[in-house]
Symmetry: C2
Subunit: 108 residues, 2 copies
């Protein structure tokens, strides 16, 4: 798939929120998960900027744990604000995708 970066703006953060909501996890693993899910070109640098942003915006709770497989990991879990933001994201996604699909189908 050729370049999706522009299309991912605003949605990738929501995807990360969704992944975190499933289980407490960390940056490196989130990147691998996104790659598995078809977001093949998403790299670590991108995910870490999103995670720092989530932390700065108070949407996640962060816990540092030793790894055994390398440096310590920063585990992320959604707090209440994070769960609300995740809800808002899905509402927006639903809204947008329905409008786009309507436009595709003739826009009537």
């Amino acid at each position: 798939m050729d370049d999706l970066t522009e299309m991912l703006k605003g949605t990738l953060e929501g995807c990360v929120l969704e992944i975190i909501s499933g289980e407490e996890t960390y940056g490196y693993a989130i990147t691998r998960r996104l790659n598995e899910l078809g977001f093949t070109d998403v790299v670590e640098g991108t995910v870490y900027t999103i995670l720092l942003r989530l932390e700065k915006n108070g949407l996640v709770q962060v816990t540092k744990k030793p790894s055994g497989m390398g440096p310590p990991r920063k585990f992320y879990a959604l707090n209440d604000a994070g769960r609300e933001e995740r809800e808002r994201f899905w509402v927006k996604w639903q809204y947008l995708s329905s409008r786009i699909d309507k436009l595709k189908g003739g826009g009537r």
Copy 2:
């Protein structure tokens, strides 16, 4: 619907391509059409920057016509490159939306 601007990045241009592909039209009318379609916050300034970009990238053919209802209008129509770009846009949209929906549904 609260702010969709980030989510629109990369998709709004495709929407404009789709609208133009339906009929030769002009900036002001495209803005109204987008508003009707549910992209309520999209304003003229945004549409004109997209149209200028499409023209600069050689995806449209432009024809100036007098209006009778105000200043002359610049009508836009897709050329071959524009039709190809439109195709690529829908392929990308299909790819992205299917991945996101899969993630939403549990990501398996």
